[in-house]
Each structure stands twice: as structure tokens, then as C-alpha cells.
């Protein structure tokens, strides 16, 4: 009992100190939109922060109390029950329900909602790409949006100057993104944690600043305008017989289905990577880099590969983004965007594909719904993150490594591969 109250005291002290600290920070920042102090506004924001803090602290105290441990904690806790319920439904069903829903969505929604849907899907692609770097390989990247910019500008420039089609620019953009991913990845290979965060953030900003200041190429802050929409060719009958007709993906609906396709392919790609030899090596690096290297995993190369793969997906999203708007400018690629994508990954559950999808929808669509509260969007964002980190620190849908099904261990004879492993003796 005594121990419990002492612990409560410690928490209480921390609470007071943090609250005061937040006050010093928030009151002047929020209170002075103009020249005079707006007490009401400042104190409301401060009050909400303190409230969240109190909740967090209370949560800590309650969790450590013996009553909680005996009742709600332990193997039957609410969190675990929720997780279990989710896991009961087979992934295949989830996928089908979800696919059906997103496929009919534009038919039921107005243009604005379809547009929001497109934005969500773009961010889901970005989130899944960053998920490779952060979630699987465990490397922090705060400059991820730079690769999105690379994709956007690659398409814009090549299309405007050389009239190259979207489909031709896409692989070039992917390649450029991947190369840049390696360029940025290389110097950071030996870094960890804070250093990695700062350096990647710096690189992200460098890219944006280059785009902003290289007037002759990028038109600087004015941005580039007038790129063609992606178009597809299909065989059609006309007066002169069978010939190729082009269908330009101009309508919002066409663009929606196009980015949906990209997103689905991204999900498939990232899932395959995750469950492959490469994905396992990434997770091994995340878990223990030294042990991974000493188990024969070339960690340097795989970390570069993670950066490159992540960058490739962002580049695709970027090219689509520029094509959709027919416009791009450096201000789309500010640091805040990197943060949002990172939030999607962390909130969803690092390494978890369904988690990233869910968080992408939540973080992009929900703020749109509360559009009137514009000013408080970032604030609500932070609030949501804080609450989440207290309640479910592993993310909405925590990642778990896949266990083998029976079908996977069915043995059948494999001898063909043997010859390709000549360097290896098969003693074990």
C-alpha cells in the first residue's frame, strides 16, 4: 500500500512539472496570434494538454496498481482482447470486404469525397513505402517525403520538356528515387537513432530547397504546371478498321481507380517483400543488427536496399500526384509531410500493413471531415498520437510475424536448386 502511494506521489510530481513546462511553452505560443494575449484560447489549449497528460499519468498509476493487475491487466486485458478479436477474422475476409468497399466507394460518394479518397490512397502508398524503411528494417527516416518529390518532379520535368508519357517516366522516376535512396542511405549507414533522424531530416530539406531555388529548371516556388494526365491505349474499331485509341485518365473516378490499383499493387509488393528472405533479413536487422550481420546477413547492402525500395514506392506516388494535379511545387514537400507519413506508420503499427492502411485513412480522411476546425488540425493530430501512444503503444494493429500454415510445410522434392548452390556443402 505504502509503495503504491509513493509511486503515485512520484507520478504527481512529474505531472506538476510537466504541466508547468507545457504552460511555459504553450501559453505564449498559442496566446499571441497577433499582438495581444488571448487568454481564453491559450488556456483552453493548455488545459487540453494538461488533461491528456493527466490521463496518461493516471493510466500509468492505475496500470501499476495491484487491483488492476489482478483484474483488467494480465492475459485478459482489454487491449489483448481487442487484438484477439481482430485476429480471429481471417486476413482473406478482411481483404475482400475492404476491396469491395473501396471499389464501390466512388459510386456512392460525391466528387469531394472521391478526392479525399485519392489523397488517402496516396498516403497509404507512402505509408507502406516508409513502412519498409521504418517498420521492417527499423531505420528512422524523417526526410521520406523527398522521394515523393523526386517522383513528382521527374514526371513533371520529363513530361513538360520531352513530352514523355507517364508510363515511360514511371520507371525512370522509380530508378531515380531508388538511386537517391541509396545516396541518402549510404552516409547514414553507421548512424543510429537521433543522428539518423537529424541527418535524414536534413536531406529531405535539402531536396526541397534545391527544388525551391533551382529556378531555371524547376521554376522555383511557382512550381511546374500543365503536365499531361496518364493515359491508356486500347484497341478500338473506327472507320479505318482496328486501331489504338487513347483514354486519358482525366476524370476523378478514373484517377481514383488508378491510384487504387497502385495502392493494391503496393500492398501486394510490400507483403511479398515482408514475407520473403529479404523481409526476414530486414526484420532481423531491426531486432539486432549485430546478430544479423553475424548470422551472415549483409546488413549494409540490405539497409541500402530498404531505403531504395521505400524510395521507389514514394516515387510512384509522387508521379501520380503530379499527374493528377497537373501541377507541383516545392511546398507540397515540406518536413511536415514527412512527419505525417511517419505518424501513419507509427500510429498504425510499425511493420503492420493493415495498420498502415487503417492509420492512413484515419489521419487523412478524419481531419478532412472536420475541415471547419482547420486551425486545430495539427493539434488534434498531436492529441490523437499522444492518446494512442498511451493506450496502444504498438500501434492500432500491431505487427506480428507470420506463423507457418500447414500447407507451407508440405514437403515435396526439390533438387533443382541444388546445383545453384555449388559453393555450399550440404552437410547439415
Amino acid at each position: 500500500m505504502k509503495q503504491g502511494s509513493e509511486m503515485g506521489n512520484g507520478e504527481f510530481k512529474k505531472f506538476i512539472i510537466y504541466s508547468l513546462f507545457l504552460g511555459v511553452l504553450i501559453l505564449p505560443m498559442v496566446g499571441f496570434p497577433g499582438t495581444h494575449f488571448e487568454a481564453k484560447r491559450a488556456f483552453i489549449v493548455w488545459g487540453v494538454f494538461v488533461g491528456v497528460l493527466a490521463l496518461g499519468m493516471l493510466n500509468q498509476v492505475v496500470r501499476q496498481s495491484s487491483i488492476y493487475q489482478k483484474t483488467l491487466g494480465g492475459p485478459q486485458s482489454f487491449n489483448r482482447r481487442v487484438t484477439k478479436q481482430f485476429q480471429k477474422i481471417p486476413v482473406r475476409h478482411w481483404t475482400l470486404i475492404l476491396l469491395a468497399a473501396v471499389a464501390v466507394y466512388p459510386l456512392l460518394a460525391n466528387n469531394y469525397m472521391v478526392d479525399v479518397g485519392i489523397t488517402c490512397l496516396i498516403y497509404i502508398v507512402l505509408g507502406l513505402g516508409l513502412n519498409i524503411v521504418v517498420g521492417l528494417a527499423g531505420l528512422l527516416d524523417l526526410g521520406y517525403i523527398a522521394f515523393y518529390a523526386v517522383g513528382a518532379y521527374t514526371y513533371s520535368l520529363l513530361n513538360l520538356h520531352f513530352g514523355m508519357s507517364f508510363w515511360l517516366c514511371l520507371p525512370i522516376g522509380i530508378l531515380l528515387g531508388a538511386i537517391l535512396g541509396c545516396v541518402i542511405g549510404y552516409p547514414t549507414l553507421r548512424m543510429r537513432g537521433d543522428y539518423l533522424a537529424i541527418v535524414t531530416m536534413g536531406f529531405g530539406e535539402i531536396i526541397r530547397l534545391v527544388l525551391n531555388n533551382w529556378d531555371s529548371l524547376t521554376k522555383g516556388p511557382n512550381g511546374l504546371l500543365g503536365m499531361a494526365k496518364p493515359s491508356i491505349m486500347y484497341p478500338a474499331f473506327s472507320n479505318s478498321g482496328l486501331e489504338w485509341a487513347t483514354y486519358s485518365l482525366k476524370s476523378l473516378h478514373a484517377l481514383y481507380y488508378f491510384i487504387l490499383l497502385i495502392a493494391v499493387l503496393t500492398v501486394i509488393g510490400v507483403r511479398r517483400l515482408d514475407q520473403s528472405r529479404i523481409g526476414r533479413a530486414w526484420v532481423a536487422i531491426r531486432e539486432d543488427e549485430v546478430a544479423a550481420e553475424l548470422s551472415g546477413v549483409p546488413t549494409t547492402w540490405l539497409k541500402l536496399l530498404a531505403y531504395a525500395m521505400g524510395a521507389a514506392f514514394a516515387s510512384v506516388a509522387g508521379a501520380f500526384f503530379a499527374a493528377k494535379l497537373s501541377y507541383t511545387n516545392p511546398n507540397f514537400f515540406i518536413f511536415m509531410e514527412s512527419c505525417i507519413v511517419l505518424c501513419i506508420v507509427v500510429l498504425g503499427g510499425a511493420g503492420s500493413i493493415p495498420g498502415v492502411i487503417l492509420a492512413g485513412v484515419l489521419l487523412i480522411a478524419v481531419p478532412e471531415v472536420f475541415r471547419e476546425l482547420q486551425d486545430y488540425r495539427m493539434f488534434a493530430f498531436g492529441l490523437a498520437m499522444a492518446v494512442m501512444m498511451v493506450l496502444r503503444p504498438e500501434g492500432l494493429i500491431p505487427a506480428t510475424r507470420r506463423k507457418l500454415g500447414l500447407s507451407d510445410i508440405e514437403t515435396d522434392t526439390i533438387g533443382e536448386l541444388e546445383e545453384s548452390y555449388q559453393a555450399v556443402d550440404s552437410r547439415t
Partner: protein, 257 residues
């Protein structure tokens, strides 16, 4: 035949000479043990062999090839595998996956094959699963293959480390205190396991404090004290060696004998 040869190898950490002009030769297919009191430099020797850091002086060669400046994963590919004094498993991964990671260096499918899920990748993945299961069976862990590594009992975690090392298909296995924290019956099992591994043709280089284990299975023992080699020979000779008794062994072994 000599598999691994350390010639005049030293390691300095700032002012501390952790290993001092060490010469060790590990004969192929044998069990050689490296013993010595805490802080003698045993783990440092393993770290140098596996490229965690290079030796300050001297050369390390394996089957005639110099290892000094190779990256660790290259050294593992050359056929040396190791375990760690403090268990270092990939905790959030399943037992099977831990072993599969060990097979990484013997398989080839890259990112593109994975993305396109090519027939080669599918076949290779199946083979990885099969071989990994074989390895787990060999180590008696097959029943646990779907458990998360962090949920294994302590002794099983130690064995899983060995399984992961064996999965790299080494010719030499470096074991750093594999019996640490084990109870006597687990240690006895471990002893059988090491002998079984040796019988498959593996060379075993063992660091261990448990003298019953060391004296029971080693063909050769090297004794390290403050980075110096103070003795080398068969277990019997070592048990009688004055210097060794003085430095470290004496009372324990005498009491047991």
C-alpha cells in the same frame, strides 16, 4: 589439418591489452576449448575472428585465407558461425524464422524475385523452410517452430542460437559459453549435442566456464589469462598444469577429482 590459425594476435582497447600476442591453431574436425577467468579476453578472440572488430596486430587465417579485413557476413559465408555469450535472438520472430535468417547467406532470391514472386523464389522459399525444419529437428526444436523466440525456455533459446548458427552451414562453429545459465541436465544434453555436431564434421571452438563440460569433450584446451596464453594441451595436462591451477582452475578441479 589446421582450419583456423591465429598468429601473434593482439587486441588493444585504449590502454587495455585485452589479448596479447596470441597464437592458436584449431585443427579441423576437433573440439578445441578456450578457457580462462572472467575478463581473460575469450570473447574478444571470438569477436576478432568473426570480424566484429579487427585485431590490433597479427593475422587470422581460415583455411589459408586471411580474414583480417573481411566484413562479418563474408566471414560467415566462408564457413565460420558463432553464438553469443548473451543470447541475441531475433525476439519478435518465430523460431523457424530465426533459423531461416541463418540461411540467408546460402540463398539468393533478391527483392525483385520477391516482388514478382517468381517460381525460383517460391521454390527457394520452400527449400529454406524444409532445410530450416531439418535443422530444428536436429536440435530438437521442431515442435517449437511456430513460437516466438522470446517465448522459448532459456535452454531452448540457447539451442536456437546454435540452430541459427548451424543454418549458415558452417564448417566451424564458435560457441561462446553455451552452457551459461543451464542446469546440470541441460548441460548434459548440450554436451551430447556438441559431440553430435562434431560428428557431422564440424570443427568446434568452445569458450566455456563449466569445467565438467570442457574437460569432458575437448580434445585440446587453450588457457588464457589477462590476454596471455598460459597453457595449451589435452584436458588431462591442463588439469595438472601448475600455472593453470594457480591462475584459475586449481581448487575447482581438484575438489571434483
Amino acid at each position: 589439418m589446421i582450419d583456423l590459425a591465429l598468429k601473434n594476435v593482439s587486441k588493444r582497447f585504449g590502454g587495455l591489452l585485452a589479448v596479447d600476442k596470441l597464437d592458436v591453431e584449431v585443427p579441423k574436425g576437433k573440439i578445441l576449448s578456450l578457457i580462462g577467468p572472467n575478463g581473460a579476453g575469450k570473447t574478444t578472440v571470438f569477436n576478432m575472428i568473426t570480424g566484429v572488430y579487427p585485431p590490433s596486430e597479427g593475422t587470422i587465417s581460415y583455411q589459408g585465407k586471411k580474414l583480417n579485413n573481411l566484413r562479418s557476413n563474408r566471414i560467415i559465408r566462408h564457413g565460420i558461425a558463432r553464438t553469443f555469450q548473451n543470447i541475441r535472438l531475433f525476439k519478435s520472430m518465430t523460431v523457424l524464422e530465426n533459423v531461416q535468417v541463418g540461411m540467408h547467406c546460402r540463398t539468393k532470391s533478391g527483392a525483385f524475385r520477391a516482388l514478382l514472386n517468381t517460381p525460383f523464389a517460391i521454390r527457394e522459399e520452400k527449400e529454406i523452410i524444409e532445410k530450416s525444419m531439418e535443422t530444428l529437428e536436429f536440435l530438437g526444436l521442431a515442435d517449437h517452430h511456430n513460437e516466438y523466440a522470446s517465448n522459448l525456455a532459456y535452454g531452448d533459446q540457447r539451442r536456437l542460437e546454435i540452430a541459427r548458427a548451424v543454418a549458415t552451414r558452417p564448417e566451424m562453429l564458435l560457441l561462446d559459453e553455451p552452457a551459461a545459465g543451464m542446469n546440470p541436465s541441460e548441460t548434459a544434453e548440450l554436451m551430447d549435442l556438441i559431440l553430435k555436431l562434431r560428428d557431422t564434421g564440424l570443427t568446434i571452438f568452445l569458450v566455456e566456464h563449466d569445467m565438467r563440460l570442457v574437460m569432458g569433450i575437448s580434445e585440446m584446451v587453450v588457457v588464457l589469462d589477462h590476454g596471455h596464453k598460459i597453457a595449451q594441451g589435452e584436458p588431462k595436462e591442463i588439469q595438472q598444469n601448475e600455472k593453470v591451477i594457480e591462475a584459475y582452475l586449481g581448487t575447482k578441479v581438484k575438489a571434483k577429482a
